[in-house]
């Protein structure tokens, strides 16, 4: 085998070793990015509902229903896709605030997200029924946010 060929083989093999973790990191970062985008969409839709509940903007049944339905749809997304193993703050320090316990204490996080799914589905059913109904349902949604953020989120 000539020297050039040897070098080429060595280079390709080395790239394989280096590239595998890089690809894994990229996939993890993409998943974390998608997860953060989902969180942003939660916050964006809740902000519309919160502004109405607090009287900052006038209540609008159609807009309230739309935002609450978006919230319910977001809560129904399957977290398996955006939350692969290894996307926690122990594995990816500085890149996420999701505690590794979210994965190691399964099914606790599943129960917490089921509570969020239920609270947002309940809110979607009543958000168009008037300001009092909206105010009544939004509290449980807020509590369900805490259901995950209390055990599974690091401080900033």
């Amino acid at each position: 085998m000539n020297r050039t060929l040897k070098t080429a083989i060595l280079a390709v093999a080395t790239m394989g070793f280096v590239a595998a973790p890089v690809f894994a990191d990229k996939a993890a970062e993409k998943a974390m990015g998608a997860r953060k985008a989902q969180m942003q969409l939660y916050a964006f839709n809740i902000s519309h509902l919160g502004a109405m509940a607090q009287g900052e903007v006038d209540y609008d049944a159609a807009a309230a229903s739309a935002a609450a339905n978006n919230l319910a749809a977001l809560a129904a997304l399957n977290g398996m896709v955006t939350c692969p193993k290894g996307t926690d703050s122990t594995a990816m320090p500085g890149k996420t605030r999701a505690k590794v316990e979210a994965w190691t204490t399964w099914p606790k996080i599943g129960e917490a997200s089921a509570a969020m799914k239920k609270a947002s589905a309940d809110l979607a059913l009543v958000a168009g029924d008037g300001l009092d109904a909206l105010r009544g349902g939004i509290g449980d949604v807020g509590k369900s946010c805490g259901g995950c953020h209390k055990p599974f989120r690091d401080e900033e």
Partner: protein, 294 residues
């Protein structure tokens, strides 16, 4: 016996007596007596967050009123386990009287006359009025009893010698207010009282020195998270995010847990919000108004 020995013995005796004197636990104060205000006792119970630590480990909602204890608090000094403070006469504090309760909450001294570990935040509760503490005692007696027995803390030597905590108290327990501001304004005064005293905000939001005492010079300046990476946010000073929030934003956060950006509270603050959500709008606004002055 040589002269030197006599001198050394005398010094040892003086040291021992001084230690005993300096570290002596406070005696129970006089009982206030009289009719107590149960509604105010409930307010104090909520702002002081009693249920957050003393309810059973997995209690939710109404179950949190059963103060059976059992939650574990791991620290660098050892693991502290919240005791049963339900009104059960045998396992809880039902056999206490108002004076012993006041001594526990305001002075950090047990029924047996021993110092409590400051995992029980008496360094803050010391700023509570005796009247509020007496109302709290009256309210706690209306809660359901639990027959669960309290577990001893898992603390190694030398911290296992409770008497030494007398020194810690000398260093770190102050009853006076920390921020001498706005006392003429009843809203500001109420807010300061709730934040510094029963609300014990400083216990997490103020950094601690090597002996575990709050660094009052950096009051509410933020601190490392005791529970993983990140920091407990500053409430005072240039790094305080709440400085950019309005008074209404802060009050709303204390009610719903939502920040102005509709992010939601996390970690131990979720328990705090559960308690502050039960306060009146006036008290939440008082806390918010005070925090804005820092």
């Amino acid at each position: 016996m040589s002269k030197t020995m006599i001198w050394l013995l005398s010094i040892a005796v003086v040291c021992a007596l001084t230690f005993q004197w300096v570290t002596a636990p406070a005696n129970p104060p006089a009982s206030l007596g009289g009719a107590r205000n149960l509604a105010n006792g409930e307010v104090v119970f909520n702002i002081a967050g009693c249920a957050s630590c003393h309810s059973a480990p997995k209690a939710e909602g109404e179950e949190k009123l059963l103060l059976s204890g059992g939650k574990r608090f791991p620290t660098e000094f050892g693991v502290f386990i919240a005791p049963n403070i339900s009104p059960d006469p045998a396992q809880g504090i039902g056999g206490w009287n108002e004076a012993t309760f006041l001594n526990a909450v305001l002075n950090g001294v047990s029924l047996e006359g021993e110092h409590y570990y400051p995992a029980f935040p008496y360094a803050s509760y010391a700023r509570m009025t005796a009247s509020d503490a007496a109302d709290l005692w009256a309210y706690i007696q209306t809660l359901p009893p639990s027959s669960a027995s309290s577990q001893p803390s898992e603390v190694g030597f030398p911290f296992s010698i409770r008497r030494g905590l007398g020194l810690w108290k000398r260093l770190h327990v102050r009853t006076g207010s920390i921020q001498e501001i706005g006392e003429a304004d009843p809203v500001l005064a109420r807010g300061r009282y709730l934040v510094e005293g029963p609300g014990h905000c400083g216990e997490c939001h103020t950094p601690r020195d090597i002996s575990g005492g709050m660094v009052l010079a950096n009051w509410l300046g933020g601190a490392p998270s005791p529970d993983g990476p990140g920091r407990i946010p500053a409430l005072a000073g240039p790094n305080a995010k709440v400085g950019e929030w309005s008074v209404v934003d802060i009050a709303e956060y204390l009610r719903s847990g939502f920040t102005p950006e509709y992010d939601s509270a996390g970690g131990a603050m979720v328990d705090v919000i559960e308690n502050t959500a039960k306060l009146s709008d006036e008290d939440r606004m008082a806390i918010a108004t005070h925090l804005k002055t820092l």
